[in-house]
Structures are given as structure tokens and as C-alpha cells.
Symmetry: C2
């Protein structure tokens, strides 16, 4: 720690000197321009100006950062969604309970008098409860084309509930919320959360709404994890499970890709160990993290078709001269990533991204992991044998694998509570984040656990992980067929 203190003192002095020198030198030395890098400073300046304009000038010199600008997520419009406040503690997998919590939610369709037509829809990492437009909020939602009369989630039949997950920043309790015990933002004093914790909060909302049993639990990406976790925690309360491009245990390559995002975000000095709520948000780190994320959401073949090696147009370019490349974006694929990062960097809370991304990494339904995390007592696990006699109880047309790997047997043991719930598993062959191997693993483990009602589809196409947002025909069709 003494080394660190020394370093911080040095950083203070030398950062100031470096900026000062850099600034004075730039005024006298001609240097190349880097618009893609300067954009970070421009954005910061704009954020700061927004603040300045709303603060009396006398306060600016001392308080500009303490009363910092607020990105959009920090100005929620609670009239556009419902909020359920639960004053009782929420049990957490890895930490002491949250003493109380909020869950933001929206609904579509009509709850039947017997309350038997409820679909709980789970979101991916950064989505809000606004899955589709509502009377309260007419803006299109993130799954607009999949929700409505006659659509995949048919509002003529079903009452659909979607929440913002615990840990998020769109109305539910998360790191950007005020800790009632301190009166300040939780920041990184927020506890580590799990996918199970998100689902626990959702079921507290269902209890409040008087909904005993779900017709179905439906989710894509991280929502697929929640969908499985819902059936796992409450097998008797979940009628059907839909997992689209989800996984039953995060793979090391997915952990690697999310770790790279967290690393660039946490290295942004504005992140300030998570305590940025009274200052400027880590907008540069968020942009860089989103650029990396975008690479994992689509696929190379899509970019081949969509961008190829096309370059962005240069107005001043002469047709007689070779184009002079730059170190900033030249290719359309680069401007696309830049744009995706720029669009996202102030839309979502950085700490929410870190906490929820970590919850995804930690998700693992193998019996050994569940036992280690006290989600399963060691005495309650059922042994799944790979013996032929065990297999005869399974679906004849889709038998489980003949010689399952040890981790598959472990996963099948952990997924035992899902043995009686009809489950739709759908994956995409071009998905590099939730690979098709992970989809097969999930279906195999369910079948090994004795589930005879596993519907399994693989989609082709070039849209990668984002297929669930785009392919209304195939994804929507599979869901409609499975739910009906």
C-alpha cells in the first residue's frame, strides 16, 4: 500500500504536469490530428459544459465535479414504467441480503382472472424493462417485433411481464441506487449479485402481483440464463422454459470477452474505483467496452457481406491519388464499431455493466458449482448415471449422448430440477459468444437429466448472437410453436 500511495501522489503531480506540458506544446508544435481520440476529450468537454450551464457561475470553480452532469440513465422517468418496492430483505447468493429493493417492470396483454396466462420475459445484459411500447411509453422496445397481438409473445393470449434486473440502472436497485444505510450511491460497495438473485427479485414481484405460476419463463442471451434459473429455483411455479442463445454455464471464452470489456472500463480514470456518481462517468471506458462487445454480438460473415473492405468516403480525396490511410478509422467496419460505442457510452451505468457482466460469468448450473455456492446441499444431489438403463427413460428420438463428458454429467445433475419442465433451447451457429456447442450441451444435459420435452433448434444465418433481436421469422416462429 505504501507503494501505491507513493504512486498516487506522483500521479497527481505528474498528471498535472504532463497535461500542462502537452497543452503548451500542442500550441507551438504541429502534430497529426486524431479525431477518434480527440472525440473522448470533446465528449468530456460537452458533458462538463452541460453541467456548467446548470450551475451558478460562482460555484463552478469548486463544485463542478461534485455536482456533475447526469447521463440519461440517471434521469429515469418513473412514470414510464412501474416500480415495485419491497421493504423486506432480498437473499443473495454471494453476500449478505439487500435490506430492501426496487424492481422496475412493464406489462403487456391482460392478466386472466385465474392468473394462469403469465409469461415472465427476462432481458439481456443492458436492456431495460421496456421490451415493447406501452401506453405509458410509446417508444419502441428492444423486442418490439416479438410482442403484440398475433406475435411470438401474443398479447391476445398472454400477460407478459418484463423487469429491469437487480444490478441494472433502469429503475431496479443497482450500484447507481442510493444505499438506504448510508444515503449515498452504492457504487462498488454494492454486493456481487448472481443470476439467481435477479430471479429471486422477480419472483418477489410475482408474489406481490398474486401470480403463483408462470405459463412460461422466456429469455434471450442472459435472459436465457434467468429463464433456466427461474425453473431451477421454482420448478413448481414455471410451466415452460424458453432459452434463446443462452447457456447453462458460461464458457471460458465468453468470460474472456467480458473480462476484456470490464478491464478497459475499470482502467478509465473516470471510473475511479466505481465512485464516479458525483463526477463524470467513465464514458471513454464505456465506449471502448462497447466496441469489444459489438465484436462478440455479430459475426465475421455478416461483416463480410455488409461492409467487406469498404472504406469510409473522404470528401477531399482526388481520384488520381492513392487514398492516404489514417491511424483512426478508415474501414466501414471501424466506423461501425466507433459509432456503436459512441451511441452506448452514456446510455448505461458502468458499474451496472461490470456487476451484471460478472453475474453472467458466474452462472453455472453444474452440480459441483451449485454445491460449492451452497445453492444445492451436497446430500440433495441426484446421481446421473451414464448407464444404458438410465437412458431408456429419455426421449427415443433424441437420446442423450452415449459417452458424455464428465462436465456434462455434472451439468445434468445440476439441472435435475428442470427434468419435468418442457424447455425450448434455440441457438445460432454463427454466435461466437453463446456458441452452438453450448446450446447442444444444454439440450444434452436436460435430456440426460430425464427431460423428455426438450425442443432443440439451431439457426443458420450470419447475424451471430444478435439473431434473437433480428430474426422474427425463425426465432419468433419457434417460440410461438413451442408456447402454443
Amino acid at each position: 500500500m505504501s507503494l501505491l500511495k507513493f504512486s498516487r501522489e506522483n500521479l497527481i503531480r505528474s498528471s498535472f504536469r504532463r497535461f500542462a506540458r502537452s497543452y503548451s506544446r500542442s500550441a507551438i508544435t504541429k502534430r497529426p490530428h486524431f479525431p477518434c481520440v480527440e472525440a473522448h476529450a470533446v465528449r468530456e468537454s460537452q458533458l462538463r459544459q452541460t453541467t456548467f450551464s446548470s450551475i451558478p457561475s460562482s460555484a463552478q470553480d469548486t463544485d463542478d465535479l461534485e455536482s456533475g452532469p447526469e447521463p440519461p440513465y440517471a434521469r429515469p422517468n418513473p412514470k414510464s414504467y412501474h416500480v415495485y418496492h419491497d421493504p423486506a430483505p432480498l437473499e443473495l447468493t454471494y453476500a449478505s441480503p439487500l435490506l430492501s429493493f426496487d424492481v422496475a417492470y412493464e406489462t403487456w396483454g391482460t392478466l386472466s382472472s385465474s392468473k394462469d396466462n403469465v409469461i415472465l420475459l427476462h432481458t439481456g445484459l443492458s436492456a431495460s424493462s421496456h421490451a415493447a411500447s406501452t401506453a405509458l411509453n410509446s417508444a419502441p422496445g428492444w423486442w418490439e417485433k416479438f410482442i403484440g397481438p398475433g406475435k411470438a409473445l401474443d398479447t391476445n393470449q398472454y400477460f407478459i411481464v418484463c423487469t429491469n434486473v437487480i444490478g441494472g440502472c433502469y429503475g431496479s436497485t443497482g450500484p447507481s441506487s442510493i444505499d438506504p444505510t448510508t444515503g449515498t450511491h452504492y457504487a462498488t460497495n454494492f454486493p456481487i449479485i448472481s443470476i439467481f438473485d435477479m430471479v429471486r427479485a422477480q419472483f418477489r414481484l410475482l408474489d406481490h402481483l398474486g401470480i403463483d405460476k408462470l405459463y412460461a419463463s422466456v429469455g434471450c442471451s442472459m435472459g436465457g440464463m434467468q429463464s433456466l434459473a427461474a425453473g431451477w429455483l421454482h420448478p413448481e411455479r414455471v410451466g415452460k422454459i424458453v432459452s434463446i442463445s443462452g447457456t447453462a454455464r458460461s464458457s471460458p471464452s465468453a468470460v474472456a470477452m467480458r473480462y476484456a470489456q470490464r478491464s478497459v472500463l475499470m482502467a478509465d480514470p473516470n471510473w475511479n474505483y466505481g465512485f464516479y456518481y458525483n463526477g463524470l462517468p467513465p464514458h471513454t471506458g464505456m465506449k471502448l467496452a462497447r466496441q469489444i462487445a459489438t465484436i462478440t454480438y455479430r459475426s465475421g460473415p455478416e461483416w463480410d457481406l455488409r461492409f467487406g473492405r469498404q472504406m469510409r468516403p473522404i470528401l477531399e480525396q482526388s481520384p488520381d491519388m492513392p487514398r492516404t490511410p489514417a491511424l483512426c478509422p478508415d474501414f466501414l467496419i471501424e466506423t461501425y464499431l466507433d459509432h456503436q460505442g459512441e451511441q452506448f457510452c452514456l446510455k448505461y451505468d458502468a458499474n451496472s455493466l461490470i456487476y451484471i457482466s460478472k453475474a453472467m460469468d458466474l452462472f453455472d448450473l453444474t452440480a459441483s458449482s451449485l454445491t460449492a455456492n451452497h445453492l444445492l446441499s451436497s446430500s440433495s444431489t441426484l446421481s446421473i448415471s451414464a448407464s444404458p438403463s438410465h437412458k431408456t427413460s429419455h426421449s427415443k428420438s433424441h437420446p442423450p449422448p452415449v459417452n458424455p463428458a464428465p462436465h456434462l454429467t455434472d451439468l445434468a445433475e445440476g439441472m435435475q430440477p428442470l427434468a419435468k419442465i418442457p424447455t425450448l433451447v434455440l441457438g445460432v451457429q454463427s454466435d461466437i459468444l453463446f456458441t452452438v456447442e453450448q446450446q447442444r450441451e444444454m439440450a444434452d444435459a436436460l435430456r440426460m437429466a430425464g427431460n423428455e420435452q426438450v425442443s432443440y433448434y439451431e439457426l443458420g444465418g450470419v447475424w451471430g448472437h444478435d439473431t434473437f433481436l433480428l430474426d422474427v421469422l425463425n426465432v419468433g416462429g419457434a417460440i410461438r410453436g413451442f408456447l402454443s
Copy 2:
């Protein structure tokens, strides 16, 4: 610019205030620890201390940054390799010529009296000329197991020359070199370079050594690009071409992955628009960039086997309690990426990484790209038709594709100069950076161009792009067979 200036002035003031406040607050508020983030400050402190200890204390307050610490690449040992200085200009694809240049190189084996046994070995992005140990430098090289008596590149038969590429930082002229016209480091005033420029410098060295014709041009990864470019620029001077996990035109997904690396590096305030040679290097940005690169060098299946979901051991962990996860690395895959980044971050020059990575993105042997960049005059292109009559001139056992895509015809036209040079194309099915589709494209285009001596191999295995560094048996065997 006025906005930017305003922003920079604010940055200076507010960065100082933020650091000061952060420091004073941290002394009184208990906050979570983030060793993975604090490591950046610790590293910076150590770099600074190295400097302090070598400077008289009276100079420290004013000159610490101007006489900043030197990372290892800034202290080259010119006795461990040869340097060819060429006082004449070097033609460049995208910019005015370099007025003079250096090429660092090493050799293995013995040059025959007729100088007909020369293999020019090309490196990947960040490698030096030290491909294997020599009398001047006994440290193992980056291809140690492939070079030597009886090995893939057999020093009993061949005289092997390996250079540090133009743009690099291990003895050849690059952004960290002193610009003779200004007396200071080029930094980002260094011109944009191409793969062709690297090869042009290499052939100037060959001219100097009196070597007229290469027995073979051999390279892996970016070295494969150079290997093709050598044959393209000097078909009459290259006997055989070996491209291992290379490509004939960078794909948008590879551009995306390199763009993400450049972005995080250029966002590091220490990068300072490339002018960091008198200060601290952008070590944090380099670490983050290397973490991303590492993801592209290996494969998910390897990590499944090697790390799975294993977590790093925690000494203080009680077996009776669930492990408490952290926002810093928990999984072995995370500590692996962290370690890879940490090992690399001071070994290589950040500007070299940016320039050479860009050169890889720009590499494109399609006729349309070569023409646009004035590497090919529009009148000199030969039209490759996809008609059956054209195809009859090709290898019968491996005919070119029946209905080639337009880009493939374009590529075949561009690769026309390689039609007579026997070429080995080897790729790896688990490579996500230079995908197997790119290898097939290269082989198809060569065959469409009329090359009847294309040897083509695909390797399985889980090592991804790094296979060329690891698989001595298969990669080495294919090269030995092809060269003999």
C-alpha cells in the same frame, strides 16, 4: 478546435482536482480494493522510481518526465543482431519516401557460394529478428524449434535471414526511431506503412548482401502476408512461397479485432497522440490491447480444456463458506489474460503496434485494391475469367471453384504475378483471426490465377492462430516437405 482547447484546459484543471480529491478521500473513506486496477498505478510508480534513481535529485522535480524511463525495446543491444543502414530513400505505398532507413537482421546457416540457398523468413506483428538463438544472442528465439540442423528450416541446407520489419522497434526504422530531419523521435509523424514497404526494405538488404534470388520466402501470420508480397513484387526473385496462417486480404472481422486493440491503446492518456518517448509509455493501454489480442490468438476449445471454469486459489478461503467473487479476476482464464497483458506491456513500442497493425488491415491483393493504391496500373491487369476453358489449365486434382464470388475473381486477378511460384498455404480450423475460410480463399485464388503448384493443408487442433508457434510436428513437417 476551440471546443477541444476548452476541453483540454478543463482536463488539466479537473484532472488535477479529481486526482487530488480522490487521493484525499481515499484516506478517510473505506472502499473496496481492486488489485487489478491498482496494478496500473503500481507499474507507473515503479517506472517512475526507476527514473528517479538514475537522475540527480535536484533534477527530479522538473525533468522526471522529459528524461523518462526507458522500456526494454528502447535499450536495444545492437551487438546481438546486424543492422544494415541504407542511406538512400525507401519508396512507400502511401506516403513520401523515407529518406534513409535501417534494417535489423539475423542469419542462421551458411550462404552457399552461388547464393542459391537463401530463405527469407518474415515475422508476425510484434516479433524481432531473433527467430532462433545465434552466436551473438543465445536467448531462445520466437521460432526456436523450427530453425536448426534437421529442423523445418534446416540450417544444414539453407541460409536463413530474418529481419525486424520497417515500423518495428527492434533495430529497424520505426516510429520510435530518430527522424534525421528533426533530430527527434518520429512518433506519429512516421508515415503510414504497408506490407509491401516492409518487403521493399527487405529486398534492399538482400541487394546489399548480393542475394539475387530467394530459394523461398517463408512467413506465418503477418509473415504470410509479407511472403505473398515478396513474390508479388519480385516474382523472378522468389523460388517458393510459404504462407502459414496468413491471408491475401484482411477480413473485416480481423480489422475489427485490431481496431479494438488500437482504440484502447490510443485512449491511454500516456499515449499522448504518439508523443510519449520523453515520458512514460502507455503501459496500461498496451496491457489492455494485449489482453484483447490474446483472445484472438488462441481458441475457446483450448481454454475449455486448459482452464475450464477453474478459479484462482484464495488462501484465506474457508471450505465451509461459498467463495466470495470479486470484480477483479476470479477465473483462471482471467488471470491468464491479465498475465499475458502484463508480460507484454513494456516489451513492445505502442506506436509500432499501431502502425504495423494498420499495415495488416490495409493488406489486400485484390486487383481493384492494388489498382486503387497505384501498386498495379489499370492497364496491366489480366482478366481472370471464370469460364470452363480457362479452368482446364489448372491442377486437375484441385480445380478452382466452379462459381467463384466476384471478390475471388478480383483476388485471382491481383494474384496473377504469383501464378508461377510454387506456394504452400497452411491454415488452422480453430483460428479466429486468420480463419480457415481465408486460407481456402487464398488457395482458390492462386489456382484461379493459374498456379498449378499450390499445396494446401488445414490443421485441426485447439491452438487457434498460435498453432504456428506450437505445432512443430504438423506445421514443421508441411514446411519441410514443401521445401525439399
